[in-house]
């Protein structure tokens, strides 16, 4: 009889402790498995009055419109090819940045790039910063392929 009372008591306690509250009701969870795509949030506007920035933005917009958006989110590198180009211009000049960009584009088309020694970012993309390609040795930061970059 006593053991039945104990069991009943425990049952009452557990049902009160783990009951569904008014503040938090069990309901259907809305989980999205869709991969977020950055290219849908692109800023195409020309908001700078600097003519150099205007030229730079024109190149970036043209690349996004004719290549990036058509290709989709398929660039295996980080920064992506268009970001690489923009960062290259900031690091160097428009001519050198173009050379860096076409070299990057060639490396992007290499089907065996997985065999190269690129480190990876956490999301799995190959890490390939423009600073390594400015021909300024002091800016080169070599990272082994086993290294995972915290982007």
């Amino acid at each position: 009889m006593q053991s039945k009372l104990i069991l009943l008591f425990l049952f009452l306690i557990s049902s009160s402790a783990f009951s569904q509250l008014d503040q938090f009701k069990w309901k259907e969870a809305f989980i999205s498995y869709e991969k977020p795509s950055e290219f849908r949030d692109r800023e195409y506007s020309f908001d700078s009055e600097n003519p150099f920035d205007f030229i730079k933005k024109s190149f970036a917009n043209a690349y996004w419109f004719f290549i990036s958006d058509v290709d989709g989110d398929n660039c295996p590198f980080r920064p992506s090819c268009s970001s690489f180009f923009m960062q290259s211009i900031n690091e160097t000049d428009i001519f050198q940045a173009s050379m860096m960009f076409f070299d990057r584009f060639t490396r992007d088309m290499n089907f065996t790039k997985a065999l190269s020694n690129y480190p990876k970012v956490k999301s799995g993309y190959y890490y390939d910063p423009p600073q390594n390609y400015t021909l300024n040795r002091s800016k080169i930061r070599y990272l082994p392929s086993t290294y995972v970059v915290d982007e």
Binding site: Q2, M100, F102, D103, T106, K113, N117, R137
Partner: protein, 284 residues
């Protein structure tokens, strides 16, 4: 039955309760806790605990504080804790740890730190030999060139010399690739500069793309489709130029990679050798 269980719980909670009579903050208990943290490798918290009882004149505690700070990379702070009498059993170890900290603080420029004013003790033969070993290693880490092998090797014993000599040879004659040559190769045949630095996939891709655009330009000029021909010529020229540029950059990255691997290998060797120091058995 219920009464018995209830009584047992009451008795147990009274017997095993935390009482004021047990002093967690006594020096003995702090030391026990610090020793536990030290042996678990939690050097940051171990140092904090040891610092609480550092007023006690105990060379072992002092030495453990030095080790703890050194292990977490606070080399200068570690050396500030050097307070050893010459007759202490740990003096020789503490001196070498002091020298190791100076080295680890800046391995590539340690060879410049030779002044006796840097040391709060007289360098005896043991610590002098240890300092000379680390100076030799520092030369290997530095960008100083053309140092005679004898100058690097003399502090080491025969067994160590073989390994240090192999590092010296790697340093003296590294397997770099010439950026100029890479650029020239890619100028003559697109992609070969990349192949020269070992990037075979990139080289073949560059060769195929440049050849494709060159062919398209040639074919369209031949067919008098001049607009298309110029577009392909322009694109081909950019890919050609980009490949020459990329080959030079790849040779520079290759050099950075060789330097990185050399330094990494040397660091690994030093760690395996425990920086030529004996293993301390405080945790056995």
């Amino acid at each position: 039955m219920i009464k018995i269980i209830f009584n047992l719980i009451l008795i147990a909670s009274t017997i095993f309760s935390q009482t004021d009579s047990f002093n967690f903050q006594s020096p003995h208990n702090i030391k026990l806790f610090a020793d536990y943290l030290f042996c678990e490798g939690d050097y940051l918290r171990a140092a904090e605990e040891y610092e609480k009882i550092s007023t006690i004149s105990d060379d072992t505690i002092n030495f453990k504080i030095m080790i703890s700070y050194s292990e977490i990379g606070l080399y200068q702070q570690s050396n500030l804790k050097y307070k050893f009498q010459p007759n202490s059993l740990l003096t020789n170890d503490a001196r070498r740890l002091f020298i190791k900290n100076l080295f680890l603080d800046s391995p590539d420029s340690y060879y410049e730190k030779t002044g006796s004013e840097l040391f709060p003790f007289q360098l005896d033969s043991l610590s002098l030999n240890y300092r000379n070993k680390l100076i030799s290693i520092s030369f290997l880490f530095s960008s100083v060139e053309n140092i005679p092998a004898e100058e690097i090797l003399y502090p080491f014993e025969l067994q160590e010399r073989k390994i240090i000599l192999s590092f010296y040879d790697q340093k003296k004659d590294p397997s770099y690739k010439s950026p100029l040559l890479a650029g020239v190769f890619s100028t003559i045949v697109p992609g070969t500069g990349k192949m020269y630095v070992g990037e075979w996939g990139d080289g073949i891709t560059a060769f195929l793309i440049t050849s494709l655009f060159a062919f398209l330009a040639y074919d369209n000029f031949k067919a008098h489709h001049n607009t298309r021909a110029w577009i392909f010529s322009g694109l081909g020229a950019f890919f050609y130029g980009g490949n020459i540029y990329g080959s030079v950059a790849a040779a520079q990255i290759f050099k950075a990679r060789i330097d990185f691997e050399f330094n990494d290998g040397l660091k690994l060797y030093l760690e395996q050798q425990n920086y030529f120091l004996p293993e301390y058995d405080f945790c056995k």
